[in-house]
Amino acid sequence: MSKNVAFPFPGLVKGMWVTLKALFKKAPVTMYPDVQEIPVPRARGVISLDVDACTVCMLCARECPDWCIYIEGHKEEQPPSKPGGKPRVRATLDRFDIDYGLCMYCGICVEVCPFDALFWSPEYEYSETDVINLLHNKERLTEWLATVPEPPALER
């Protein structure tokens, strides 16, 4: 099978013309460590936890597709609100860990939370050299709460 070998000059010139045009365009690259890109407000970066809102209902841990949320809690007896009333029982959170080594960032936990305790934050700079450090405990998850942005304005 012998093919006619064409002289590639016209195609080369046309291609170089595209390259030349690109040369004078502004480069769309963000030089990352020096210049930080601002993620969109809806970006799913990291999950933050509002410990006070959490009622240890375990819905998020149950609905998680790869079961990467670990929750432990205990019941605490509170004094009755009125003298002579029944003592109240309140669930207290002992442990709330999310293993970001397993998490697949689907957002189901955030969506099913009925008490608004979980939020998405677009922060992304939490890579680790050791995989064990990707297990964020509840103190670390609470720290992310400050980075949760306002929801974006909506179309129409």
Binding site: K3, V5, A6, F7, P8, P10, G11, L12, K14, G15, W17, V18, T19, K21, A22, P28, V40, P41, R42, A43, R44, I47, E63, P65, M104, Y105, C106, G107, I108, V110, E111, C113, D116, A117, L118, F119, W120, S121, V148, P151, P152, A153, L154, E155, R156
Partner: protein, 394 residues
Amino acid sequence: MTTPEMIHRSETAVSIELQTPDMTLNIGPQHPSTHGVLRLVANIDGERVTDVEPVIGYMHRGYEKLSEVRTYAQITALVNRIDWVSGFANEVPFIAGVEKLMGVEVPERAQWIRLILSELARISSHLVFMSSYPLELGATTPLMHSLREREYILELIEEVTGGRFHPNFNRVGGVKPAYGGGSTTKKQSMDLPEGFFQRTADAMDRMDVICDDIDQLVTGNELIKMRTVGVGVIPGSKALEYGLTGPNLRASGVAYDLRKADPYLTYDQVDFDVAWRPEGDCYDRYVVRLEEIRQSARIVRQAIDKIPSGPLQAKVPRVLKAPKGQVYSRAENPKGEFGYFIVSEGGKIPYRLKIRSTSFSNLSILPWILKGQLVPDLVAIMGSLDFVLGDVDR
């Protein structure tokens, strides 16, 4: 002076002297031309491939089995990882199947948003092809141009859904970003962010420009034409026999497109042409995909004009339970027909989920088409079929 007869005589002498028996060559599992971990066991006679056997399964993640122990909402998060260059398009047929099972009517605005994002996924998938295919043929410049433009598309998808690759945006009965809690945000319906239509229209203008650029860089290039024209010809009848769908089928002269043949979402309300070519060689498969980017941009522009305002979510029960039954639901994905066969015995999880993944069917033609081809053409043909190994092995 050497005459052609003398050359011919000496070549015959060489092949008699040098025994050239068949040699088995393993291409892959790790090889730059295979788009992932595909292993080809090729029998080659000199430079000619006599027999090829694809060995798949290196990336088998067992999605069909995993789906049997997960709720419908959790499966949505799984299925957009099947074909990772067009994550949104994988969700659409699955969620449409569940909606068909449960008898949920989807609001019109949600359907239009699904259509827009499906077409954006198609553009981004084809732009990956526009970058990887010339790269396999030895041209590195188109990669820079098309991946740059793809980033604009991914930014749009991220802006709406929150994820660049894995949107997880479809819910049974509508669309909704997995955007976080908060009593303030819950009261609002989670619609598209402000200015999305304007930015999408701008991005579509960019797509026209990049299509012209790729046209100049690749389409008319003599070297690319020498590598692709007349190479790896699949006749239409063979393509149908092997169950090829999508651009690979349309390049073989069969203008079959599910968006026209069996309109889903709101594809019957937009005006577009089915891109097809008669020859069925690598060049045609490339040209069809380039034309599809233009058509997708055209669809998105119309959708922006036509999209009505209204609710995004139909009323569905909080715990999703599909009634007993079975349903097959399909859609035209960037790579072809993508289908889910869902069997439900009632309850929160499906009894069985069969995934008809496009790339698996498209890859099945490899042993037939690679027979008798040259080894360098093997790379050109495989690249032109545009398969993703995650989609093959699932």
